[in-house]
Amino acid sequence: MGNFAPAKTTRTEVLIEDWASDKDAFKNVSWGKAMMWIFLLSDTFIFSCFLVGYMSVRMTTAEIWPNSSEVFALTIMGEHIPLILIAIMTFVLITSSGTMAMAVNCGYRNQRKQAAILMLVTAGFGLCFVGMQAFEWSKLIEEGVRPWGNPMGAPQFGAIFFMVTGFHGFHVSIGVIYLIIVAFKVLRGDYEERGYEIVEITGLYWHFVDLVWVFIFAFFYLW
């Protein structure tokens, strides 16, 4: 590449030249990985719009916003604990990020069996999360929360809750399916020649879904 570009002097110019050099802007980044990053950037905008929409609606609605730490409290063995289910869900999802990172590590060491098992464990945590979400949804529905109204206050509460957690849960479910498919292909040895970068690409998606949950958790349950 050196013989193609004219000499540059300042640091910014060198940076621009490097980035714009021939063939690929991101050196040693495969097409699949680049595409996943770009997709996640686009998906970030989707979730940002959801959350900005949520904040805007919460501030403009005329009625009282239900107190989330009360709404999401559970009574376990006689103890009334606020936000306990959400705390467990968050813990499970963040743990799954850990097993995912271990899977990526095993992938790059060509330990394909361990990588596949760790991916399936991650998928298991994901399923667990979706299951708890289903429990949370049915509990709220039993208490009379609906997308068009609820007994605790502003009707937008239910609407936003079901929409945003539903959209995130949909992402988790897709992620579980994606993880299981890739895990089986890894186990079968489909990637022996190409290498196990696919595990990292799957992991990018999974970590993203976890990261989004952290924001939903903070803005929805803690605010």
């Binding site: 021939d22 609605t61 997308p147």
Partner: protein
């Protein structure tokens, strides 16, 4: 670099059956043509709708149209033209065809995803067209689909039309995302040897930045579409305030929603959308001008940075569509400033086009005629944008025919002129035959002069205070005097002429496909890679056994000491000296 080399040695699976070659094709060139044909078809539907509206305005007694049908025609015309024609044609059509050829790739990076993109696009078009056949017809809410009106009983299509419209938009966004990921990744990661970013033709730059805008702006439409869909179908109140039914006077089941939130979300998509359409046009027209004026583009790097800066700024101007929405006036101040700042890089581009033409060897070919027409039209449309960008000037002009004239000039006619010019320019590469020159010139003059006769008078109607979106004018003599009515009749006549003259273009495309003059590989004597393919039209894999090697930028016209007046990008520095430092500064 290992990954790009993989592409070179990758085996090419040439499709063999008719189905895998032309229907379920994964070849970017076939996908581009599929995209373009669908877009042109649906664009013709929108053209017919606009002719019907013009008949209603100009000669109300001649056409049996009621207010419902008028609003439906208006809504569908706008939505189709902006999204399903222009966005799809520039990104899906030109982007698909030109990006791999211009950067020297064999195909898009993920051909299968690319194929899914075009089929999702077709599905979205089918859902959209299906809304003509459901009870109540398509939505008549205006292309901006503002709630609460869009989903309140009494608005045309509030039962089914609006649902199909939103579903269709969501499918379209999925399609655009799948295509867009491919275009961006291909430009970033799949360029050939020596093809640095700053040697890419401006066409690629324009489509590249526009695609990034699409990937970041469509999410806002996606989210607002889902929220409105929930409001319509299951009765949430995201955008719906407490209100009374306009028919019965009873309270509706909605409470406490925020209609203005929809406007913010919609225009956070809607304004970048203008540049999703305009930036590819900027890129394409830069190449047309350079080739047909036989002159290197003036200020290449400035042109690139202008595209990037316009792209960034387009995300912070959205509320200039909302000056009359009742938002905080301080917002108006901020957005007026950013709006006017965008005029700087845009004007820079216009100056650079002019300076490219300056003392060039201008060939008045059909693509060049369309390019010149684009510069003029874009300038006129852009200048009226300065009026509308200022809050105090905008308020009296808001929702008048002045606005209609402005946006049709700047983002309707101007990009469409580039579409025509580009089709005349690249048709020889796509088919191996030239489009007929005489028919092309006739088509150009009718279209160019005709659109001016349509839209220039509309500025005057706007100053007169004629509001847009009114379907009939009986009893409104104050704002629609005799003179305005005759001007409207004149506009209608011109619109019908321009509409019918597009048949010339369609005829030319079909006729030349069979009877056109064979073009050879490089009829315009251009330098960029797509003209240097071993076969014309390019075969599957584009480049034969090995990828091209690029030694220079795409604009080496009239290099001193060279034998030809153009030096292709693959010509090495030993044959013709490279003066890269001249244009890199």
């Amino acid at each position: 670099m290992a990954y790009a080399d993989d592409a070179e040695h990758e085996e090419l699976h040439e499709p063999t059956s008719f189905i895998s070659k032309y229907v379920w094709s994964q070849d970017h060139k076939v996908i581009a043509i599929q995209y373009s044909l669908i877009a042109i078809f649906v664009g013709l539907v929108a053209l017919v709708l606009s002719a019907m509206m013009r008949m209603q305005i100009g000669f109300p007694e001649s056409i049996d149209m009621d207010s419902t049908e008028y609003y439906q025609a208006m809504t569908m015309h706008g939505m189709i033209m902006v999204i399903y024609l222009l966005t799809a044609l520039f990104l899906g059509g030109f982007g698909n065809y030109l990006i791999p050829l211009m950067v020297g790739a064999r195909d898009m990076v993920f051909p299968f995803v690319n194929m899914l993109s075009v089929w999702f696009y077709l599905l979205s078009v089918l859902v959209l067209l299906a809304s003509f056949f459901v009870p109540g017809g398509p939505t008549g809410a205006g292309w901006t689909l503002y709630p609460p009106q869009a989903i309140t009983q009494g608005t045309p299509g509030a039962e089914w039309g609006i649902i199909l419209m939103l579903v269709s938009l969501i499918i379209f966004i999925v399609a655009a995302t799948m295509g867009g990921l491919n275009y961006v990744t291909t430009v970033l990661q799949a360029r050939t040897h020596g093809m640095t970013m700053f040697r890419m033709p401006l066409t690629v730059w324009g489509i590249f930045v526009a695609t990034i805008l699409a990937l970041l702006a469509f999410p806002a439409l996606f989210v607002s579409g889902i929220m409105m869909l929930l409001d319509t179908t299951i009765g949430t109140s995201f955008f719906m305030p407490d209100m009374f039914s306009p028919n019965q006077g009873t309270a509706l089941d909605y409470t406490g929603g925020s209609p203005i939130l929809f406007q913010h979300l919609f225009w956070f998509f809607g304004h970048p959308e203008v540049y999703i359409v305009a930036l590819p046009a900027f890129g394409l027209v830069s190449d047309l001008i350079s080739v047909h004026a036989r002159r290197s583009i003036f200020g290449y790097r400035m042109m690139v940075w202008a595209i990037v800066v316009i792209g960034v700024l387009s995300f912070v101007v959205w509320a200039h569509h909302m000056y009359v929405s009742g938002m905080n006036p301080y917002f108006g101040f901020f957005f007026a400033v950013t709006t006017l700042v965008i005029a700087v890089p845009t004007a820079l581009k216009v100056y650079n086009w002019l300076l490219t033409l300056w003392r060039g060897n201008i060939h008045l070919t059909v693509p060049m005629l369309f390019s010149l027409a684009f510069i003029v039209t874009f300038l006129v449309g852009g200048l009226t944008g300065l009026f509308l960008g200022n809050v105090v000037v905008d308020i009296p002009l808001s929702d008048t025919y002045f606005v209609v004239a402005h946006f049709h000039m700047v983002m309707g006619v101007a990009p469409v002129l580039v579409v025509f010019g580009s089709i005349y320019h690249w048709y020889p590469k796509i088919t191996g035959r030239m489009l007929h020159d005489g028919i092309g010139k006739l088509h150009f003059w009718i279209t160019f002069l005709g659109t001016y006769l349509i839209y220039f008078p509309m500025h005057y109607l706007g100053f007169l205070g004629m509001p847009r979106r009114y379907y009939a004018w009986e009893g409104y003599q104050v704002i629609n005097p005799e003179s305005a009515q005759s001007l409207n009749a004149f506009i209608t006549v011109m619109a019908i002429i321009v509409g019918i003259s597009q048949l010339l273009f369609l005829f030319n495309m079909v006729y030349s496909y069979f009877k056109g003059k064979p073009s050879g590989g490089n009829p315009w004597k251009a330098t960029s890679l797509e003209w240097l393919t071993p076969e014309t039209p390019p075969k599957h894999g584009n480049w034969g056994p090995s990828l091209p090697v690029v030694h220079r930028w795409a604009y080496d016209y009239g290099v001193p000491g060279a034998a030809l007046d153009y030096t292709p990008q693959t010509t090495s520095g030993e044959e013709v000296p490279i003066h890269e430092s001249d244009h890199n500064e």
